[in-house]
Symmetry: C2
């Protein structure tokens, strides 16, 4: 491969939500795994990595999913749908993650115990709605990396929140603490995205 790497500014400008995909183009599972693995460098609340994914390439399953995603064409024509799910019980992994930090030389035993105590004094007592919001924010962080990495590899994406989340959870038999957050269609564009406007900075930010 002799792909030119593009700089960040080019990538963030060129990444646009694409809704028309070449239905005959199939990404490999290896490529999808590479994109997801690279994206996991994203930060997350207390490094608890609340993100979970179901990656759907099977044609019949994509067809089914289209029906619970307001019939949106790209759910069926994109090469894959990456369903982004948040685990509101993310703190239950804290001991494993902390132990892995020690094993990889990132933390000593004292820091490990501090990480575990901090998480266990906070998350189990936080309302599930707050934990869901945190998982949604973490999901957004990693989703942005997924979409930029995909663009860098020559693919296009569109994130979708417009789908029946309850039906999705039922169809894919999600446990109660797994909340569907977004579907990301990914594949080879068949038509360019249309542009979209942005609110001026002064209307969305104030400086103190």
């Amino acid at each position: 491969m002799t792909t030119m790497t593009k700089d960040l500014y080019t990538l963030i400008q060129e990444r646009k939500s694409v809704r028309k995909y070449d239905p005959s183009f199939k990404m490999t599972q290896t490529e999808l795994e590479e994109i997801l693995t690279a994206a996991t460098t994203a930060p997350s609340s207390s490094n608890l990595q609340s993100w979970r994914f179901i990656v759907i390439q099977d044609e019949a399953t994509k067809k089914e999913l289209r029906a619970i995603a307001n019939g949106q064409e790209q759910v069926e024509t994109a090469s894959a749908i990456i369903a982004v799910i948040g685990d509101s019980d993310m703190y239950k992994n804290v001991e494993r993650i902390a132990a892995q930090n020690v094993a990889e030389g990132h933390m000593d035993e004292k820091q490990k115990n501090t990480m575990i105590n901090n998480a266990m004094n906070l998350y189990p007592f936080a309302p599930v709605e707050l934990r869901q919001n945190i998982a949604s924010y973490d999901a957004g962080l990693i989703s942005m990396q997924i979409m930029l990495i995909a663009k860098e590899k020559g693919y296009d994406t569109v994130p979708m929140a417009g789908f029946d989340m309850a039906k999705f959870a039922e169809r894919f038999e999600l446990p109660k603490h797994h909340h569907p957050i977004a579907l990301i269609a990914i594949g080879k564009a068949a038509a360019p995205a249309h542009g979209t406007s942005r609110l001026p900075l002064k209307e969305i930010a104030r400086f103190i």
Copy 2:
């Protein structure tokens, strides 16, 4: 400026959460505005851009904020704190955003009306908790772009969900539909970040 641009893979690997900042280093408001403006290329649910920001550079205000952010040092020592806020009434901007799309040549009148009707048939009837989750996801998308752009410019960041959100809302007199989501400390690193482990892909993703 003769800064070398770094490729995306280098940036996503090198961006790590930094908690030690040089307290004497001050970014300019112009730099902060440039970072935020560039980051707004991020996608958002129905392009409603639910993200709002309060950027705090004032020393006394950072000190106050530290007290409502569990005393975390970086809230005071970082050059600025970018408070990321979600607007759960995001759909109230749909007419303006759609009109701007027409003015900028992205949409015709028919597409504009479709955009408005779709949003108004959906968002006002969605529970506020769902709209808050959507705003949190959108906030994550733009936050990731903010942190990557900052890194590209030679700055470091750390996103924080650990602060008293109710106290924040009170202190900064947020309207009821503005929900504090995260604080991003940004500035010049005084010490490198420690590394962090990641769960293996097979434990967070399944393929269908």
